[in-house]
């Protein structure tokens, strides 16, 4: 396919590997932000083919993985109601809540539907005025324009039975939190190309400057990632810390203005809890007052739901890049894509799932907390 195949050319990839090896004079640690990039890196074995001096650590960029357990439990509470059709991206269905998941609820008769686009949820709301249609709006800045448009559409069409359960997170505050952490190992970032396609990259310039960390806006194909790594390593070697754009075919400095306007109209910035990481100031989105009526949390009075994580799961360390899935005692034993204990094993963009599907073996030296006997089966 055009714009995919040519960025997977093995001959060009070889040249990039060679070039990276040539410019690297000492050890560097790079973090890719986005789960889509993690998937490409692990699946293609790029991290293992890079020179040993270049260490790739995997960032928190999987929206499914950072959606707090609490919100999953809220979605479950809403989906369990007889008057509700809960709609969601497919990735969310198997994410375990405290006691069950959406897929299991559906098997027990709840109306849970996977949609490709949030506009599909709006369409269902139009077709079923007798039911409450709730869209589980998770994601980074990439899905925010789509979810904003769904709310604007429902509003324009006058659909009182549509609402959204919002769990939107923003990338730059998370990068700041990572950089502020005392054990931060990141020396350069590959920023998420599609987040920047929407938001542009001006937001990253103060970060690069303040923390003296190179940030390269990077695409998702193997050549994109290798070129992003090369650009970041060149900056590190030359002592520069700038924002550079590898993904020029899809990203402009100012991003997509129309999409940003829609986001600003429908959403406002608020503190958000990141699963495994904790609350990060100004790191998420909530509905603005104008569209507060579409807030499913208020409509179904689930604001007070709280939740408890599985004790074996070290998702926090995984998401901040300080631990690898192979460090987790449950990895590939108790926790597999069929029986996920934590979100990073569920989504294809999750680091644990990426490791598992690439067949990475447990180290045999479990560094995670011991797995309690009670955790042996899915609860």
């Amino acid at each position: 396919m055009k714009y995919l195949d040519e960025y997977r050319d093995p001959a060009l990839a070889r040249r990039l590997f060679t070039e990276i090896r040539t410019v690297t004079s000492r050890p560097w640690t790079l973090m890719e932000i986005c789960g889509g990039q993690t998937h490409t890196i692990v699946r293609q074995g790029i991290d293992e083919l890079l020179p040993p001096d270049i260490r790739m650590i995997h960032g928190p960029g999987c929206p499914v993985c950072v959606t707090p357990l609490e919100l999953i439990d809220k979605a479950l509470a809403i989906a369990g109601r007889a008057d509700v059709i809960l709609t969601s991206y497919g990735d969310m269905l198997r994410v375990p809540g405290t006691t069950t998941d959406l897929l299991a609820l559906r098997a027990r008769g709840s109306d849970v539907r996977v949609v490709y686009s949030p506009l599909d949820a709006v369409r269902i709301a139009g077709e079923r005025p007798d039911r409450e249609v709730v869209f589980f709006a998770v994601g980074f800045e990439t899905t925010a324009p789509a979810n904003a448009m769904a709310v604007l559409r429902a509003h324009a069409l006058g659909l009182p039975n549509f609402s959204v359960l919002v769990s939107h997170v923003l990338v730059p505050p998370a990068m700041t939190a990572l950089l502020d952490a005392p054990d931060c190992q990141v020396q350069a970032f590959l920023a998420a190309g599609h987040v920047c396609a929407v938001m542009g990259w001006a937001q990253y310039e103060p970060l690069a400057d303040r923390y003296q960390v190179p940030i390269v806006v990077t695409g998702f194909e193997p050549l994109d990632i290798l070129e992003g790594v090369l650009m970041a390593v060149r900056q590190l070697e030359e002592g520069r810390a700038q924002v550079e754009n590898q993904y020029v075919r899809a990203v402009h400095r100012s991003g997509n203005i129309q999409a940003q306007e829609a986001i600003r109209r429908v959403f406002k910035v608020r503190d958000r809890m990141w699963r495994g990481i904790g609350t990060i100031p100004s790191s998420g989105l909530a509905l603005t007052d104008e569209f507060a009526a579409y807030d499913a949390e208020a409509r179904f009075a689930v604001a007070d739901v709280t939740a408890q994580e599985h004790p074996a799961c070290i998702a926090g360390g995984i998401l901040t890049g300080t631990r690898l899935p192979t460090d987790c005692a449950a990895y590939a034993t108790l926790c597999t894509p069929r029986t996920p204990l934590g979100a990073p094993m569920v989504s294809t963009e999750g680091t644990c799932a990426a490791f598992h599907s690439a067949g990475r073996q447990p180290t045999g030296q479990p560094a995670g907390q011991p797995v309690p006997a009670a955790a042996a089966g899915p609860s």
């Binding site: 686009s117 599609h194 999409a259």
Partner: protein, 100 residues
């Protein structure tokens, strides 16, 4: 869900004030909202996320990126042969995959 895919705009249509279209992804076509890329025309490539085009692919820049990569120093012999082959195989497999 953050995996965006480039596809080619086949048709555009105004649906009650919202610009929609069909986009072809290597033989699979889908309805896509073009509201955020109103400048898109039939034949253009767009990056699509969860049913929304978020960006128009810049053909000139796309070509330039590849030219830069192709003109890069060809010191391939420095790289172990098997390393290259291994990568070639893996990339080859990925090529055979359905669009993400």
């Amino acid at each position: 869900m953050c995996l965006g895919v480039p596809g080619r705009v086949m048709t555009t249509i105004d649906v009650a004030g919202l610009l929609m279209g069909t986009v072809d992804f290597g033989g699979v076509s889908r309805d896509v909202c073009l509201g955020y890329v109103p400048q898109a025309r039939v034949g253009d490539y767009v990056i699509v996320h969860v049913g929304f085009a978020i960006s128009l692919v810049d053909e000139t820049e796309a070509r330039r990126t590849l030219e830069v990569l192709r003109s890069m120093g060809a010191f391939e012999q420095e790289l172990g042969q098997e390393l290259g082959q291994e990568l070639g195989q893996e990339l080859g497999q990925e090529l055979g995959q359905a669009p993400r």
